[in-house]
Symmetry: C2
Subunit: 552 residues, 2 copies
């Protein structure tokens, strides 16, 4: 079968898996209705909107006091997810029936046990990036081939041939009472700052004309559209943070192997020079902290031989009397972010600078020991160290071509061959040297953490990713620092552009990015920044972001 | 200059760095005087012997109450080390003057501060494997070239060109008051289960006719000869444990990057598939625990971007009311260890089996999910993944040939070329799969740890390493488990061989190894076993070994 037909069939089967009463008769165009929430809030019943606007803590509490059932919660999220999917194409798999059955089981359990909950995520729907394996659910990581046969799926994902396996992180969530109902879209091989593949394109829920970011783009669109409050994404160059940034979410990229990655499908799962990490994406910081704790405190984590055995450290989360030394890196000296981003960094600086709990300083971009673009280039050289042989081979299984996004974003190696181990080890060495240099900067500045842009723009039109740049996220993966995106405001009419002479542009990317800014198009869009902490400082990162959010 | 002449000059300069009054007029041959301690105990003064037989705790206490000076301690250890070196060739660098100066500084500090010690290793001499960098001291890691020029040293060790750098672990030890006085020998590139290179051969201090093990062989010989009580070695295939095993020492191989490796010279420092680890080798378990705590609790550890930020966990060391579920793996089903080893495993089993704190079980060797030899072969394939190009290139700098030990122990790849990244990643994958399988075994057997042989023999003649086998140590590096060698007894006259029909041998290695056993030659030699715990269980490993030692 032609790969295009496979994609068409897959899209149809997804729609068919939605109860017919939830199907929209007319799907408004992005021009007619750019914002998913405006549209859905106008058509959904109040009780469902109340549920999908709640946080996990409230939903748990309402169950505990018998005011809400897991089924009601699941129903509301499935319904909204079905609608968000129709508007954005954010789901790669939909399995509401399983979710309803699970919800009923949980309700039965609770009722039989005097409203006792089964675990700390009892009845909380959690959405999963397509890389996460669930029994009897396909994992395709952006390729066509797994939708043709389980044999192809096994080749690409290395999962059990009968699809009986489950990713360790999903097992942990499930054991704690989480309900799975959808998996979400990714670009081919999870490589890309947008989410499109030969299977289709996912739209941004805040503005459906825009890209939803990637590679955890389906997660971002679903959570931003309130079809989920807690999602699990992965990040090797910004894949959690980019979709979070362009859709105003909290996204945590922990250091390598802090969260268990066992049995998660991945591109280059054994490229251990710079590792993909798994982590939470949430619409609020408390849910993010809650789910992180549940995962990291679970004794199952050590089942992953690669997972670092550090449980959640309450003492690092709860330090309340400590002054946080925080730096502000307005830009990297190469790509000046758009005015709303600069203005919001200044806004946060001013608020924190007036608070006794913070000791603020501006970081001179000229003090960066290595250009972020150089870190980004090293990362890219890890991506293509096999000259994308794996990806090319997986495309051949179905006959699909490399996706347009992939071709726009990545280049094959100039010498068109794989690295040998000596070349690979030299990259590993370079990474280590860069880490040492940035650690030294932390020490010299005497900072605990710093705030910087998540991206050089707050959003972009679908397909325009190559007109802007992405070193603000990629650099952090090379350094393996803990990073979290967090929303700090919205673009407003004061975020006007300012003139920069042609001679002032640092390079072509800087010029392209700057000229891409269009206030009218960005008005009202969320502005999201990154907080960067040292390695394995997930608790500290959570604590500081929470504090900042409280102050904003 | 011919490489042989460089080696001769280096050996002479080492002897010249020993105070002339400490030079032996006649060095007895190994046949005349096999045992270093028997000889030295007959010629050294009582007060010095008392010091070199003490443990760190006693030496610290005696300083604190003003009964002993750091200078006296240092004098005794330098003196004995100088003699052990003359008998075994265990030192690669000797710098007693620096040690004496440091000792005087520490004494001054103590006296001025009312006997307060500067740190938890105040005045304790610590010997360092040659890989550890110290300012103005050459690091040659078994090659000739660094003794020709600092440029060559920089190429091989990646250290500062002015030799101003110090390995992080040495800095930590020094900050705590440790005194450095010698660095110790290694085989070329630290690859080998004996310690010889074109620079010379190191003898075993228990029996100078025997190999001292490797690659931390100089450390092993020095500590066994009581020229040191605490040494720092490294281990990627048994390099801490083999010299410890054949010389009756405690040697801890922690999991990857638990102890900080920053600025330690290494072969293939960026081969991160199976990492070399650094760790302590000691003549007693309390010193090993003490120095491990000092290192892991030091805030400097996080200066190493690769170091896992887990401080020493007292709660895991001090669990006293817990029953330890312990397995006993008498052999791996392929190479039957010699009778003294089997008998000592049985002895330990019987002692622990009668103790309420232990729940003992014999592990059926047929239950091993992967043969240890297979794990060992995977490790070897990591070693030579660049087809030993780095090693060949470093030899070329001086014109030295590959060492005889190297040629005896390792083979170039059959296809005589480097791995590409795809091949390397496949090895990383295989390692992960093996780890999962062994973790599963731990769970199925419900064991916290297990005891197994350290090696298939308790000792062997210099140069005979290829007649025996080494999968008992190598396999653990692939699994990345925590492992410690610990002495449990000595070979005695009951350790007689027993007949095995020719048809009973599992393979040629098994037969060769078995036939190598010679009770007369092994009588009185220490028997050392390994305790294997799961990853990052260093505290638990220390606790259990200590408990076993108390019971023996």
């Amino acid at each position: 079968m032609d790969y295009k037909q496979v994609a068409i069939n897959k899209a149809k089967s997804l729609i068919n898996s939605i109860p017919s009463e939830w199907l929209l008769d007319n799907i408004p165009s992005p021009e007619e209705q750019p914002n998913v929430n405006e549209y859905l809030d106008s058509i959904l019943p109040e009780n469902e909107k109340l549920i999908t606007s709640s946080n996990a803590n409230d939903l748990l509490h309402l169950q505990e006091i018998g005011k809400l059932t897991a089924y009601e919660i699941t129903y509301a999220f499935c319904h909204r997810a079905a609608l968000v999917h129709q508007l954005t194409n954010c789901c790669s798999e939909i399995f509401f029936d399983k979710a309803f059955n699970k919800a009923k089981e949980l309700d039965d359990y609770r009722i039989k046990n005097n409203n006792k909950l089964i675990g700390k995520l009892h009845g909380i729907p959690i959405s999963l990036k397509d890389q996460i394996n669930l029994p009897q659910i396909t994992t395709s990581i952006g390729y066509i081939a797994p939708h043709i046969s389980k044999e192809f799926e096994k080749i690409i994902t290395n999962r059990d041939e009968n699809q009986n396996d489950i990713s360790l992180i999903a097992e942990i969530l499930q054991n704690n009472g989480a309900i799975f109902y959808v998996k979400t879209t990714v670009p081919m091989a999870m490589l890309g700052g947008e989410t499109s593949s030969n299977l289709g394109t996912t739209l941004n829920s805040i503005d459906r004309n825009n890209a939803c970011g990637g590679s955890s783009g389906g997660e971002g669109a679903l959570i931003a559209g309130k079809g989920s409050i807690i999602g699990i994404g992965t990040d090797i160059g910004g894949s959690i943070r980019i979709p979070s940034a362009v859709q105003g979410l909290f996204g945590l990229r922990g250091s390598s192997n802090r969260f268990p990655y066992l049995n998660i499908a991945n591109s280059y799962p054994n490229q251990i020079g710079v590792c993909s990490v798994v982590g939470p994406m949430c619409s609020n910081i408390n849910d993010l902290i809650h789910v992180s704790k549940v995962i990291l405190n679970d004794p199952l984590c050590i089942q992953d031989p690669r997972c670092i055995p550090i449980k959640w450290r309450d003492d690092e989360e709860e330090v309340n009397d400590k002054v946080t030394n925080i730096g502000f890196l307005r830009w990297d000296g190469e790509i000046l972010p758009h005015p709303p981003i600069l203005n919001n960094i200044d806004k946060v600086y001013n608020i924190l600078n007036g608070n006794d709990d913070f000791n603020c300083q501006i970081i001179d971009e000229n003090k960066l020991p290595v250009k972020l673009s150089q870190l980004g280039k090293l990362l890219l050289s890890f991506y293509n160290c096999d000259n994308f042989t794996e990806i090319s081979n997986y495309c051949k299984l179905s006959g699909e071509p490399l996706s347009e996004l992939f071709k726009r974003s990545f280049k094959f190696k100039e010498d068109n061959r794989m690295d040998n181990v000596e070349e690979f080890f030299n990259k590993v060495k370079l990474k280590y040297e860069y880490q040492l240099k940035f650690d030294k900067l932390f020490n010299e500045l005497n900072i605990d953490c710093f705030i910087m842009p998540s991206y050089s723009t707050v959003c972009w039109n679908q397909g325009d990713n190559s007109k802007i740049s992405n070193f603000y996220t990629r650099s952090i993966n090379v350094l393996d620092y803990t990073a979290m995106t967090f929303p700090v405001g919205k673009v407003n009419e004061n975020d006007v552009s300012f003139h920069r002479d042609d001679g002032e542009f640092i390079n072509e990317m800087d010029e392209n990015n700057w000229k891409y800014f269009n206030l009218a198009k960005q008005l009202g869009k969320p502005v999201t920044l990154q907080l960067i902490c040292k390695r394995y400082k997930e608790e500290e990162c959570c604590r500081i972001v929470k504090k900042i959010i409280e102050l904003l």
